[in-house]
Amino acid sequence: MNENMTAHQPKLACPHLIGFNNGRPSLIGSRCANCGEVYFPAAAGCTRCLCTEMTPADLGDEGILWSWTIQDFLPKEPYNSGETEIDFQPYGVGYVQMPSGIKVESRLSVADPEKLRIGMAMRLDVQPYGKTPAGESIHTFVFSPITSAKGGENHG
């Protein structure tokens, strides 16, 4: 990532997990050189075949919602959104099954149980989830339901 690019990118909690292709984010993991098992985040070794030779793997930016919940209470540290009990906003959490079959745990942009269903198509995005004490927004990867019609966004 060159300096020119970083200047345009938001502050990320996990910059090594996210790659950008033509402005679209995708998740970066690793693949076992021996058996092909995929890992996220990138792993030092394969827990299936015990091989230690791993190569980077682009997991893509779309998947299917495999399970979900709503985080309805403010997590304690090390959660660093900067929120308090008073201004805490519940957020969705889910596992999203990517094309390789791996299910990635992620925040969801939707926190309304009526709008989440196992099996729905999801797309990766990078969104703010909190602020540093200095007031700078911190971003992370988030999955959102793919809405058929533009304008039907679920951002609250």
Binding site: Y39, S67, D72, E77, Y95, S100
Partner: protein, 385 residues
């Protein structure tokens, strides 16, 4: 040749909240009660294993109980700490390394959900910082998927909690002794949907201890020894759906509960149908439902019917968590697994009072599950049955 092992003493410090009483004091109380039950003094103990998550080194109990030089090994295995301590004492006695041993667990947690640090679990900081490393989330995500795959509805989640508090009300040692009605549970505030407030156990305080010896001399110490037919601990496999996993493998593998349970039944030479009373880890309603099938007590998806028709009640065919389980007792992590063992011992001795399973139960079963994917199972038998 490996010796048979028996439980000859059990001791509990009630679970709950006890301001001004340290976790260690609660552990010491439990050990003293267990020794009294076995009619033994601390200086007769030849090996001890114990642990706590948040209340200090278990070995520090020697400062309370007596500095006898006993080999005392600290165990730190999350929710399976008690089960691991017990399995270690059993191994020591079986091998002949010790004649009498103690397994002890105690804890005292701060209020509210646990807040583990990613690095302690081999994970990267962002996983905690961005709000993904909560045990409650995992239980909700696993339950949600399980309900989807096996046709379980919220009704089953409510019924597990309802029975737990009903049994807790019969248990003078339970933290929660108030029965809750269906509506109160079903409409309690969401924590991590589909799981609500009264479907989750709370971190708590308490202590639990067990005294064991070789079975051949057990009757010298207690008139009703409980034989250990199996004590097994297993950790997760590649592909199993565990707590603290930023991703799950494409191919799902069975949980460590499944492998621990199978190994325990094999070791004991009995099957799930032979068990008269059982303790299954109920960190939350969903976990108990999943654990019913993972331990072999029913088929996946059959749980809802069993919960509805009363099979899992004290008088039913599968009496589960007769003391109210984690839901009514709370979870002092270090002590929780041994509480399960103590309840089964009391049931098999016929000393469980108002919550006694009828028909003189002979075989009992305990199961713990905890982070980061470890399960402990014991199978216990009333001697002379």
């Amino acid at each position: 040749m490996a010796k048979d092992v028996a439980i000859i003493g059990v001791g509990l410090h009630r679970f709950g909240r006890f301001d001004g009483v340290s976790g260690r004091q609660q552990g010491a109380h439990a050990v003293r009660e267990a020794l009294k039950d076995a009619n033994l003094s601390w200086d007769k103990v030849q090996v001890a294993y114990g642990g706590s998550q948040d209340a200090g080194n278990a070995d520090a109990l020697c400062n309370d109980l007596g500095l006898t030089g006993v080999p005392f090994i600290n165990v730190a295995n999350g929710c399976a700490t008690g089960g691991s301590a017990l399995a270690s004492v059993i191994a020591a006695i079986r091998s002949g390394a010790a004649e009498i041993g103690v397994a002890v667990g105690f804890d005292k947690h701060p209020r509210g959900a646990f807040n583990p640090m990613p690095r302690d679990w081999g994970l990267e900081d962002w996983y905690g910082e961005t709000g993904l490393m909560l045990t409650t989330q995992f239980f909700a995500l696993k339950t949600q998927r399980y309900m989807y795959e096996h046709g379980i509805t919220e009704d089953a989640l409510v019924r597990v909690a309802q029975r737990a508090f009903r049994n807790g009300a019969l248990n003078p040692n339970a933290w929660r002794q108030r029965e809750l009605d269906y509506e109160e549970i079903a409409t309690s505030s969401p924590v991590n949907l589909p799981l609500r407030k009264y479907m989750f156990c709370n971190p708590a305080e308490g202590g639990a201890a067990v005294v064991l010896c070789s079975a051949e001399v057990a009757k010298r110490h207690h008139p009703k020894p409980i034989l250990v037919r199996a004590a097994v601990v297993r950790t997760r496999h590649h592909g199993s759906f565990e707590v603290f996993n930023p991703a799950l493998a494409a191919q799902q593998a069975p949980a460590p509960t499944v492998t621990a349970s199978k190994a325990a039944f094999e070791e004991a030479g009995v099957g799930p149908g032979d068990i008269d009373v059982m303790q299954l880890q109920d960190t939350d309603s969903g976990s108990e439902i999943i654990h019913m099938a993972e331990n072999g007590f029913c088929q996946h998806g059959e749980q809802e019917r069993l919960l509805r028709d009363g099979s899992t009640e004290i008088g039913g065919r599968l009496p589960i968590n007769t003391d109210g389980g984690c839901l009514a007792n709370g979870e002092p992590v270090g002590a929780s697994g041994l509480r399960q063992v103590i309840e089964i011992c009391q049931q098999l001795r016929g000393e469980a009072g108002r919550r006694q399973v009828p028909g003189a139960p002979r075989l009992g079963y305990t199961h713990v599950y905890g982070a980061p994917g470890v399960s402990g199972v014991t199978i216990l038998e009333r001697a002379g049955g």
